[in-house]
């Protein structure tokens, strides 16, 4: 039995995950919590948010995020990829800044109109 704090929403439910029983989750308030509990112990993932260089905009950095969660183990390699990205204004929220991050199928997308 493993105890976790769910990070799906700010509520922060205290989950208990039974590894020997098909990763059955208790303590969750919603189905997303059950899914998180199982995933966190089998294949943990995170959405990455960061910034990239932008030229021609009012500010120096453009915020980006992965459009879906990527494996936790890839976080720092994904961050490294952003060092070489440079956008040019104008960009729109949702524009792809970097496609198919490390073969995961996730894209870094712009999160602010600049």
């Amino acid at each position: 039995m493993k105890e976790l704090v769910c990070i799906v929403c700010p509520r922060g439910c205290r989950l208990k995950v039974d590894e020997e029983n098909g990763y059955a989750v208790t303590g969750n308030s919603c189905p997303k919590g059950a899914e998180y509990g199982k995933k966190e112990l089998t294949a943990p993932t995170r959405v990455i948010t960061s910034t990239v260089k932008i030229s021609g905009a009012a500010i120096a950095r453009c915020p980006v995020k992965t459009d879906r969660a990527i494996p936790k183990a890839m976080i720092f390699d994904a961050m490294k990829l952003l060092d070489s990205v440079e956008l040019t204004s104008p960009v729109k929220t949702g524009d792809v800044a970097l496609a198919d991050v490390l073969g995961t199928g996730a894209n870094f997308v712009v999160t602010r109109d600049l």
């Binding site: 704090v5 799906v8 910034t51 120096a60 950095r61 961050m79 999160t111």
Partner: protein
């Protein structure tokens, strides 16, 4: 170019101002002006590039700029006017012969202008407590700054501010910056928290500290800062009963100290306008519809009390904006007033006064408890009479609580309601 007169003037274009303006417009205010001192709308959301915003309001997880962008896009479809790079200097409530308030502001284009408003909504938000506010002894080297300042440097300006970082305070901004600095290649050596518990959301402890193996020192504080030009090290001490324990000191070599030691509602305008302040929140006292104790002046968001989630700010601001529009259109609330008092276990309440005649079906009361608690009961009493009770499995000072009291129960209350928290039996 400003008009001389607006139905509703919103002071501040952050999340509270955006939602208040939207609601005022939707409620029928013909002319609404947002006055914002920065050069763009969105406030602090613009530098909060992490995700986790909007789960309640938009039912999806957004970053700060996306959340602000959604509201800005909705505002574009209304007639709401926006004046950026414009600073409000003073507010004179009900100053004109016909009861309008006068907002004095200054901008590069128009110099000083006096604008009349049927109602004003205060949406100035809050600012961070600084090193000066908590008086950490030591030298004054570069590298000591608030977490929000660091967030602006890194996320907006594109400067990396240090390589070896210590964070004092485990509020959400500090936790978020611990992760952000780590992702950008810095080593975050410790997060030091005075209280025996964290004031941040549990999810942030997990995804910002535990994910990256950053140690959290509870019941510890920083008692020394060393360094000539640049920060060289800090001294950490154990704390018991709020006092550093001699002999427990240890030093951490670092070049950056980020302070996440609390937020203070920014109420200079409010105070100068003579609007009554609640000492517990340092924000204005408000009625059930977010009007301050001064007629025609409303307030919402972090200027009233510091919120955990922007979604709750938006909800509060929508109520304030709608009520301001009604006030500007001539609606006045009369009748009985019920004062809301804090009992044991409750640090403050919003609102401070409820007018039952202005409550449609039920009134929401927001508050924070004083210490972390397990199974608890929130009691709403009128004198010795219990009006309502609410059960909670878990409560913490870091998490704002909300109870909803139906109008029918308000009818049973006398002149005051007292909200208290006790352990469940």
């Amino acid at each position: 170019m400003f008009r001389k007169k607006y139905d509703v003037i919103i002071v501040g274009g952050g999340p509270a101002g955006l939602a208040a303006a939207l609601a005022a417009s939707e409620k029928g205010a013909g002319s609404v002006l947002i006055i914002e001192r920065d050069n763009t709308l969105g406030g602090i959301l613009n530098q909060c590039i992490h995700n986790g915003f909007g789960l309640h309001w938009f039912k999806e997880e957004l970053s700060g700029p996306e959340y602000a962008g959604r509201f800005a896009a909705m505002l574009k479809k209304t007639a709401v006017e926006v004046a950026v790079e414009t600073m409000v200097l003073s507010i004179d409530a009900a100053a004109t012969a016909d009861g309008l308030s006068v907002v004095r502001c200054i901008s590069p284009d128009e110099s000083v202008s006096d604008i009349e408003a049927g109602a004003v909504v205060l949406c100035m938000g809050c600012r961070e407590r600084t090193r000066g506010a908590i008086a950490i002894p030591g030298t004054r080297p570069a590298g000591v700054m608030t977490a929000g300042t660091a967030q602006r440097y890194v996320n907006i300006e594109g400067y990396m501010i240090g390589k070896k970082v210590v964070i004092l305070g485990s509020g959400d901004i500090g936790l978020i910056m611990a992760r952000r600095m780590t992702l950008e290649g810095a080593k975050v050596l410790a997060c030091v928290e005075l209280c025996p518990y964290s004031n941040g959301l549990n999810r942030n402890i997990v995804q910002c500290l535990e994910d990256y193996g950053i140690p959290l020192y509870l019941s510890h504080t920083i008692t020394g800062i060393r360094g000539d030009r640049r920060l060289e090290s800090v001294t950490v001490s154990k704390v018991e009963g709020g006092v550093p324990v001699p002999g427990t000191e240890f030093d951490i070599e670092c070049d950056t100290l980020l302070l996440s030691v609390g937020l203070i509602p920014e109420n200079e305008l409010t105070r100068n306008a003579g609007i009554e302040i609640n000492p517990a929140t340092k924000g204005p006292k408000v009625y059930e519809n977010m009007m301050t104790m001064t007629n025609g002046i409303f307030a919402c968001g972090n200027v009233v009390h510091v919120h955990d989630l922007v979604d709750y700010v938006s909800a509060e601001a929508m109520r304030a904006g709608a009520a301001a529009a009604e006030y500007a259109a001539g609606k006045r609330v009369a009748g009985r007033q019920i004062g809301v008092k804090t009992g044991p276990g409750v640090n403050y309440t919003v609102p401070c006064v409820i007018r039952p005649d202005n409550v449609e079906k039920a009134v929401d009361i927001f508050f924070r408890t004083n210490v972390p608690r397990k199974k608890s009961v929130i009691n709403v009493m009128s004198g010795d009479t219990k009006i309502a009770a609410f059960k909670r499995d878990y409560m913490a000072p870091g998490e704002m609580e909300k109870i909803t009291v139906p109008k029918v129960l308000l009818a049973k209350a006398g002149d005051t309601l007292t909200v208290s928290v006790s352990d469940a039996e």
